[in-house]
Structure formats: C-alpha cells, structure tokens
C-alpha cells in the first residue's frame, strides 16, 4: 500500500517540480533584470503564499530526489524483497519530511543571523 503510494508520489512530485521550475526561471530572470524586479520576486517568495509554495516545493524536490535514488537502486537489481521495498518506501517518506523540516529550520537560522 505504502509502496504503491510512493510510486504515484514520485510521478506527482516530478510533475509538480516540472512547473516549479517556472518559479526558478522567474527568480533568475528577475535577479538578472535588476533591483526592482528582484524586489518584486523576493516580495512574492517571502509572502505567506510564497513561503507555502516554496515549502511544498522543498518537500517535492527532496521526496523526488530520494524516490529517484530508490529507483536507481532498483535499476541496479537491489531492494526488491517485500520487506526491503517497505523499508525503502518508509525511508523515502520519513527522509523527505525530516530533511524538509531541517532545511527550513536552517534557512530561518541563516536569514535570522544575517
């Protein structure tokens, strides 16, 4: 059950990141355009909606990254035993949520310190 949901989650996070790349493109283009455009994009990213979207993006990226590593492990021919699959699915989910929280705590510490 969990392993099935993890497979679908890999596809959904991949598709979400596909569109999230628009945010990166917008941010980079704005930074390259100058201080005014940069201020606008920074305002959006710092708003409640912006932070929420970026939080979900962080989780999607980390979940897809760990899920991708899981796929690569399977490609090498390992991790097919039922208990191994279960373990990998759990590690992907717990790892992605844990790393997301850690990154955001570090992020707030970085901003707070500067």
């Amino acid at each position: 059950m969990l392993t099935m949901m993890m497979s679908i989650a890999h596809r959904i996070t991949g598709a979400a990141l596909y569109f999230a790349m628009l945010l990166l493109a917008w941010w980079l283009m704005a930074t390259a355009s100058g201080p005014n455009a940069y201020a606008t994009v920074q305002w959006f990213m710092g708003s409640v909606i912006g932070r929420f979207v970026l939080f979900l993006c962080t989780w999607a990226l980390l979940h897809h990254l760990l899920g991708g590593i899981r796929h690569l492990i399977w490609d090498l021919g390992y991790g097919f035993e039922p208990n191994e699959r279960e373990w990998l699915a759990r590690a992907t989910l717990i790892g992605s949520i844990g790393l997301t929280l850690i990154l955001w705590i570090v992020g707030y510490m970085v901003v707070g310190a500067s």
């Binding site: 991949g14 596909y18 790349m21 990166l24 980079l28 940069y38 990226l61 991708g68």
Partner: protein, 131 residues
C-alpha cells in the same frame, strides 16, 4: 535477434536501439543519466539557495556571478530541464492515447522545457558577464 545461437551480444546490446519508437533504451538511459547527475547537482543547488536566502540584490548578483556557483547552476538547470523533458514525455505517453492530443502535448512539453532552460541559462550568463 540471432536464431543461430552464435549471437555474441549481451542482452543489453540486443535491446539497444529497439523498442516501440526504436529509442526505448536510449530514452531510458538518458533518464537515468540525468537522474544520477541530478543527485549531486540538486544537493549543490540546495546549498546555493541557502547561501542566497535573505540577500539583497547586489549580494545575490555577486554570489550567482561567481564562476563555480554559475557553472553549478548552469549544469543544474540544463540537466534538470532535459530530465523533466524526458520525464513528462513518459507521462504524456502513458496517459494520452488520442494521437492528435498526444502530439500537441509532446510539442508543448518541448517548448516549455526549452523556454524554461533557455530563460534560466540566459539569466545566469547575464549575471556572470553583466551585459
């Protein structure tokens, strides 16, 4: 495939270049190639984002314009847009069976990924060379 029993090729060599679109393994292989490359690049990308957080415009430009950061970001952006182009192609092929819609979506996918990739790459180059 050989029927004489003297085929010296490995199974992987036999399937190379075959498949429904004669590009099955090449597509698969590039998806894996960009995935493997994506692991260190994504980790590096996360560190760059952390370094950029809360900076003013001048500082952000300076960080993104330094050679190592710029090259890492360019590799990340180009690798990831290629990866997501291949990935979305698989998703479209899996779910869309109407031939016209499929071709239209595959085209849209190509345009989207090229625009995103070029926009990111152009911005990064402009930040480096300041033109």
């Amino acid at each position: 495939m050989s029927v004489t029993g003297h085929d010296m090729r490995t199974p992987l060599q036999r399937v190379r270049g075959l498949g429904s679109a004669r590009s099955g393994t090449r597509h698969f292989w590039r998806q894996r190639l960009t995935a493997v490359a994506g692991i260190p690049l994504t980790v590096a990308f996360i560190f760059v984002v952390l370094a950029l957080m809360g900076r003013n415009h001048a500082a952000a430009v300076q960080i993104l314009g330094s050679p190592i950061v710029a090259v890492v970001m360019l590799l990340f952006v180009l690798n990831m847009t290629y990866h997501m182009w291949l990935g979305m192609q698989v998703i479209v092929e899996d779910y869309v069976h109407n031939e016209f819609r499929k071709v239209a979506l595959l085209m849209a996918n190509s345009f989207f990924c090229i625009v995103v990739g070029i926009a990111c790459a152009y911005a990064l180059l402009k930040l480096s060379f300041g033109v």
